[in-house]
């Protein structure tokens, strides 16, 4: 473990906490970036509505969109999700949790060739498909995986 880095960064956790709260949905992005708030997409109560809200419709499956999530969540309150897009000219990445009350959990825009790689901590109430959706050259691509949320106990 890099303990020096850990000590140094402890003083900087305030911003980290803020990012975490956004991801977990506790802090509405409206409060942070009011101008870009896509109300329709974030408030949609199903995946179809959320996809429509971000203009995706029916995105195509892509192997170049890498979605890293655990098979079984260690803690449903903070499920780590990493998305990396290897699709050229990716300009946005969105993350959806199908069975959450509002499936669209996060949406990121990349300007001027920023590396399309994001990491977030999402809250999940139950076992669900997690979807990543990337936009590149006006087209939408997707990758998905099931994350199991379990009551735990009773193992081994």
């Amino acid at each position: 473990m890099n303990t020096t880095r850990r000590t140094v960064l402890k003083s900087a956790t305030a911003s980290g906490v803020l990012a975490g709260l956004i991801a977990a949905g506790a802090l509405r992005p409206t409060q942070v970036l009011a101008a870009e708030w896509n109300k329709a997409a974030f408030e949609a109560h199903d995946t179809v509505g959320a996809l429509k809200g971000i203009g995706a419709g029916a995105p195509a499956d892509s192997k170049d969109l890498i979605l890293k999530v655990p098979d079984i969540a260690e803690n449903g309150a903070v499920v780590p999700v990493d998305v990396i897009s290897n699709i050229p000219n990716t300009t946005s990445i969105s993350i959806l949790v199908e069975k959450n009350p509002s499936p669209l959990s996060a949406s990121f825009d990349f300007a001027n060739g920023a590396l399309p790689e994001v990491s977030a901590r999402l809250k999940m109430g139950q076992t669900s498909l997690v979807k990543a959706v990337a936009k590149a050259d006006g087209k939408f691509y997707t990758a998905q995986k099931e994350v199991k949320v379990t009551v735990g106990g009773c193992g081994g």
Binding site: M1, E74, P80, T127, V151, G153, C154, G155, G156
Partner: protein
């Protein structure tokens, strides 16, 4: 049997045990027999010995293998999901033999008397020394679940096992229940006791904040001129199956991708043999072997499967052997590789049962075990009751030991329904044997032993049963946790292992009446994983019950009606 009086019963047992001894005398007297079992000629130039999931059993014990170990989807009818005669047939083991007794539940009580107790570190030490003498520089691997499972391990905070493993000469270890001693205790042992002696390896344990590795992912050694690497894999679902608050800053998971990275790294550093010391459980190991390339063998544990031969899995890079070495100190595996021209040419594998009456006890280890037990002896030896029937734990749905625990916690707590976790460790009691406090601790010695009484709605009960059932029978092994189904007392139900999550559990009835979704029921349980849970240690609750009953009649197992398991070779 319950109508038989105690005197008659004990006389019958005495007769049986004399018959058993007489049966046993022949193979013992035939000089060749012992040698035949433990005569494992050295092969090749790279050697590993492996034991796993000993669950802190320092002394010889009985351990009955399961008669229900269902394989679903791709695992149907394949090792390790074979029981009894099906297992014997698949591995060419003759029924009625010593080996048949070691690997199956068949005729357990009688065969146990015939062949004697199994395991014990003093007997294991003798075999390790014998094998080491023929195999210079052989590595002894411990798959984990070593510091938990007995009274003395709990009361010494794992220290008795740490020192026993050092004395035994363990070189490297993996882990799971170790973490239930708490993250700080694990780090203290790794840094103070194991340093320079035993490598504690885990490629899949990282810090939750930055993803930094917590332990060394692998260790490399030169063995007889060949570079070998051992990569550690801790139980991926430790913070889910056990209390997360005990290791809050660490994250686990299967981590295939990082495993591949580690394999590539050790290969690049010159490793010609790569072994993964895994606590994944066998089904997860089999899947991992198909996805990660460059591993020669995954030597596994967790699921407590005594599998006589490795399963060979083909993958994009060649092939990987997958083994599982049972539990409770019952077996020692020997894996020899012939490495020439920079690669593995061939191998030999043997899973040796440790029969304590065939392997003399190692004097140094006996002295150590006696010393470590001495302060606790009186408490350990307290006779709580006599069991008329066989008490065992293993099996997908229930075991007679679990039934006894359920009966006890339900009666003492005044509950309608009982839940007991589907643990796979715990020793076996033969008919007529006294149940000591030590035996009770063999079933219950954990760091979160609280007995609980909760009000649950019918709907909550159904949710829990479905959830745990999916942990056992999800068709994808990566979503399984490797334990057995929660043991259920009082409530009758039907279970369809092949059905989908949410529709496996049906026909739930309590005292003949259908369970109502909105009605509240009193549910007794133990081993809560939530932080802040409290209660009397379950061993005290069960001990009171046993002292009160004095004689424990054979248990009537509450088992679900199984749907769609006919013809499955994992049930007998």
């Amino acid at each position: 049997m319950s109508s038989m009086n105690r005197r008659e019963f004990l006389q019958m047992l005495a007769a049986a045990s004399v018959a058993g001894a007489a049966l046993d005398a022949r193979p013992l007297l035939a000089a060749g027999n012992t040698d035949a079992l433990y005569d494992v000629p050295k092969f090749g130039n790279v050697h590993f010995m492996h034991f796993t999931d000993c669950h802190a059993q320092l002394r010889p014990i009985w351990f009955r293998e399961p008669n229900v170990n269902l394989g679903v989807a791709g695992a149907f009818g394949k090792a390790p999901h074979l029981v009894g005669e099906q297992l014997l047939r698949a591995f060419g083991i003759k029924p009625g033999t010593r080996e048949a007794h070691a690997f199956t539940y068949l005729d357990f009580a009688q065969a146990a008397k015939t062949y004697g107790k199994v395991g014990g570190f003093a007997h294991l030490a003798t075999l390790v020394k014998r094998l080491r003498a023929e195999r210079p520089n052989a590595l002894l691997l411990d798959g984990g679940d070593t510091w938990q499972g007995s009274a003395t391990a709990l009361w010494t905070n794992g220290q008795d096992m740490v020192d026993a493993c050092k004395l035994l000469g363990v070189n490297m270890m993996s882990s799971h229940w170790e973490f239930t001693l708490g993250d700080k205790r694990v780090q203290e042992i790794v840094e103070k006791d194991l340093k320079g002696k035993i490598e504690f390896l885990a490629q899949n344990v990282k810090t939750t904040d930055f993803g930094d590795p917590v332990f060394a992912p692998y260790a490399m050694r030169e063995m007889n001129g060949v570079q070998v690497a051992v990569i550690g894999q801790a139980f991926p679902y430790t913070p889910i199956a056990n209390p997360r608050y005990m290791m809050p800053d660490w994250t686990f998971g299967i981590q295939d991708e990082n495993m591949q990275k580690m394999v590539d790294e050790v290969r690049a550093k010159g490793a010609k043999v790569v072994v993964v010391l895994s606590h994944n459980g066998m089904d997860v190991d089999l899947k991992m072997a198909s996805r990660v390339t460059g591993i020669d063998a995954i030597m596994g544990g967790h699921t407590h499967d005594g599998v006589p031969q490795p399963v060979t899995i083909k993958n994009a890079g060649g092939q990987t052997l997958v083994t599982n070495a049972g539990s409770n100190g019952k077996f020692l595996a020997v894996l020899d590789f012939d490495v020439r021209g920079g690669k593995v040419q061939d191998f030999r594998y043997k899973l040796l049962p440790i029969f304590s009456n065939l392997l003399p006890a190692d004097a140094e280890m006996v002295a150590y075990i006696d010393k470590v037990r001495a302060p606790y002896k009186e408490k350990l030896d307290e006779k709580l009751a006599v069991s008329e029937g066989l008490l065992y734990r293993r099996g997908n749905f229930n075991g007679s030991w679990d039934q006894l625990i359920l009966d006890a916690i339900m009666e003492v707590q005044g509950a309608d329904i009982g839940f007991s976790p589907g643990f796979r460790w715990g020793t076996t009691i033969l008919p007529g044997q006294a149940i000591t406090f030590e035996h009770l601790m063999d079933q219950t010695a954990i760091t979160y032993p609280y007995a609980t009484l909760n009000e649950m709605s019918g709907e909550q009960i159904k949710t829990i049963l479905e959830d745990v059932c999916d942990n056992s029978f999800n068709p994808d092994p990566y979503y399984q946790q490797g334990g057995d189904m929660v043991r259920v007392g009082g409530l009758q139900y039907a279970c369809a292992p092949d059905a989908k999550m949410g529709s496996r559990i049906t026909e739930m009835r309590l005292k003949g009446k259908a369970l109502e979704a909105d009605k509240k029921y009193k549910v007794a349980g133990w081993a809560p994983v939530a932080e802040g849970a409290k209660g009397e240690p379950v061993w005290d609750v069960v001990a009171r019950y046993l002292r009160d009953k004095k004689t424990i009649t054979p248990r009537k197992l509450n088992q679900p009606r199984l749907i769609g398991t006919k013809g499955n070779p994992g049930i007998a």
